[in-house]
Symmetry: C2
C-alpha cells in the first residue's frame, strides 16, 4: 500500500488531475474540459468532484490510499478557508472548494497555479537540488512562485507572490490589475507580441512581415525569435527590448529573494540561446552587491504540462507532514 | 540568573551595544564612536571586542548569563560564515567578525541592519502582534527587512531582502548599486531632497526658499513638509511626487509578500498626516486582487534608535532556540 496524493491543475481550458506518489511520479491521470464559463461554477465543482472520485477509486483498486488533494488555481484564493475568491478564466467567484468536497473526507489544499508549479519544480523538476527558488511563468500574464527553505511561500491567505504585479515602470503601460507599469505588462508573452507588432509597424521591410504572410494579426510568440535566428535586425531589436524588461524584473527578484535559482517557464522560455542566454548575460553584468555575492542561476522550468498536477500534489504531501 | 543577549548596531557614526532580555528590555547599553574609516578595520574589531567584554562583565556581575551576540551591519554580510563582505560606511571589506570574536566563546550572528530592525519591530515594536512584516527604512538609501511567519527572511547567505534595490523606473535615475531606477533612487530621504531642490529651482516664489534662508544648500528632510503644512503649493507638489514613488514601492511589496503590515522607518516617517496618511490612501486605492483581498496595514516603526540593538539581540535569541 502506497500513500498517494491527488494534484489538480484547474485551467481555463481543462481540469487536469493526477495521482502522484512521494517520488513525484504520476501513477494515473485524467482530464476534463473546463465548462464553467458557459455552465457556471456548479459545473466546475461537479466535474472536479467526479474527477476526484475517479482517482480515489483508481487508488483503492490498486491497493493504495489517497492522503490528500491539492489544487492549483488560476486566480486569487484564500488558502486558510479553502475558497476560490476570484478566477476570471474559470468564471468563478467566492466559491468554497474545501466545503464542497468535504464529503470526500480528505484534506483539501489550494494555492495559486504559479505557486504550485514552483513547488513542483523545486521538489521534482529543474530545481530539485535546491531549496530556495523563484519561478516566473511567462504567458498571457506573468505568474510568480517562491519557495524558501524548501517551503512554499504564499503570503497571508495565500495572496502573496504576485510577482507579475510589481511595477517596474511607474506610469507605464496599463495592466489588467488596475495599476500601470507592472512587470507583467512588459515581460509577459503578450508584451513580446506588442513589441513585435510595434517594430513591424515601424519597419515594413522586416522579415517578420514575410513570416506573418503580410498580416500583423498572425504575429505570435515565435515571430521575433524565428526571424532573429535568420539575422533580421528588427527581430533582434524586439528581442533585445524584451530581454531588457524581463531581466530587470529577474534582477529585482534576485535582490529581493536572493534565491539559488530563478526558473523561467511558459512557451517562450524554450528559446534557449535567443532568450535564456541573453537574460543570463544581462543579469550577470548587473549582479547586486560586492564581489562575493554569487550570481543567481537562471534555468528553464522542466516539468512543462505536468508542473501543475505534480506541484499541486506536493501541496497535499506537505500538508500530510504537518 | 537571567539569560541575556547582546545586540550590536554597527553604524557609520557609532557602535551601539545593549544587553537585552527575552522580553526585549534593555538591561544595559553603551556606545563607542566608529573610527574605522580613519583607523581601518582593525580599530573597529578591537572596539567591538572591548564593548562585548564590557557587556559580558556587566552581565556576570549581575549574576546573569550572556547566551549569544547578534550584529546589525550596514552592508553586505555572509551570515553563514560570519563575514562582513562589504560595508562602505565602515570602510570594511571581507572581515570575518565571527572568527575574530571566537575567544569570547559565544555564538555570533550577523545580519544586515534593516533586517535586524525589522525583526526587532516584529518582536517588540510596532508590529509585535503580527508575524508577517516588511520594514522599509527611509534614509540616505532604503533598507529593507522581511519577517515571514515570525522568522527573519534573509535569502542565501543573508544577501536577500535588498528591497531598496528593486527597479521601479527602468532606465531611470542612477543608483549607487550600478543599476538605474531603483526604488531607493526615488523614495529615499535623499530622493525627497532632490525633488525639493528641483521644485525650488522651478518656482522661485515658493515658501521653501524662505525656509532655507534663500540658500538651496540648506534644504533638508523637513523643508517640504514644514512648508506644505503652511499651504505652500510647491511644497505640496514635492510631497505628492514623493508619496507616489514611495507608495508604488510599498504596493509592490504588498503584492510580493502580502504581509500583515508594512512599517516605515527613518526620520521622515514621523510625518504622520503629511506622509503616512497619504501613502495609506494611495495604496488603499490601488489594492491588488479581488474585493476579499485585505488592504495591508501601513504603520510607523516605533523602536527608533533602539531598533538596531534590540533586533540584533533577537537574532541571537533565535539562534539560541535552535
Amino acid at each position: 500500500m502506497e500513500k498517494l496524493y491527488i494534484g489538480v491543475d484547474v485551467g481555463g481550458m481543462s481540469i487536469k488531475a493526477a495521482l502522484v506518489n512521494k517520488q513525484g511520479e504520476i501513477i494515473y491521470k485524467s482530464t476534463k474540459k473546463t465548462n464553467s464559463l458557459e455552465g457556471g461554477p456548479g459545473v466546475l465543482l461537479k466535474d472536479i468532484k467526479e474527477l476526484m472520485i475517479e482517482h480515489i477509486e483508481y487508488a483503492k483498486k490498486s491497493g493504495d490510499v489517497v492522503k490528500g488533494i491539492g489544487f492549483g488555481i488560476p486566480g486569487v484564493v484564500n488558502n486558510e478557508n479553502g475558497t476560490i475568491d476570484y478566477a476570471c478564466n474559470l468564471g468563478v467567484e467566492n466559491v468554497n472548494l474545501r466545503d464542497y468536497l468535504s464529503e470526500l473526507n480528505l484534506p483539501i489544499y489550494l494555492s495559486n497555479d504559479a505557486n504550485v508549479a514552483c513547488l513542483g519544480e523545486e521538489r521534482f523538476g529543474a530545481a530539485k537540488e535546491y531549496d530556495n527558488v523563484v519561478l516566473l511563468t511567462l504567458g498571457t500574464g506573468i505568474g510568480g512562485g517562491v519557495v524558501i527553505d524548501d517551503k512554499l511561500f504564499e503570503g497571508v491567505e495565500g495572496k502573496g507572490a504576485e510577482l507579475g504585479h510589481t511595477v517596474i515602470v511607474v506610469d507605464g503601460e496599463p495592466c489588467a490589475c488596475g495599476r500601470r507599469g507592472c512587470f507583467e505588462a512588459y515581460a509577459s508573452a503578450s508584451a513580446l507580441l506588442r513589441y513585435t507588432r510595434q517594430e513591424m509597424k515601424r519597419n515594413h521591410d522586416s522579415m517578420m512581415w514575410d513570416y506573418c504572410k503580410g498580416d500583423i494579426d498572425n504575429v505570435d510568440g515565435l515571430t521575433s525569435f524565428e526571424c532573429a535566428k535568420k539575422g533580421d535586425v528588427s527581430a533582434n531589436l524586439v528581442i533585445d527590448t524584451y530581454v531588457k524588461y524581463l531581466s530587470e524584473g529577474v534582477l529585482n527578484f534576485c535582490n529581493i529573494f536572493r534565491p539559488q535559482v530563478i526558473l523561467l517557464g511558459g512557451g517562450i522560455s524554450n528559446q534557449d540561446k535567443y532568450l535564456i542566454e541573453k537574460v543570463k548575460k544581462y543579469c550577470a553584468d548587473r549582479n547586486y552587491g560586492y564581489k562575493n555575492t554569487p550570481v543567481v542561476e537562471i534555468r528553464v522550468a522542466s516539468l512543462k504540462n505536468d508542473a501543475g498536477v505534480i506541484g499541486a500534489a506536493c501541496l497535499a504531501m506537505d500538508g500530510d507532514k504537518k
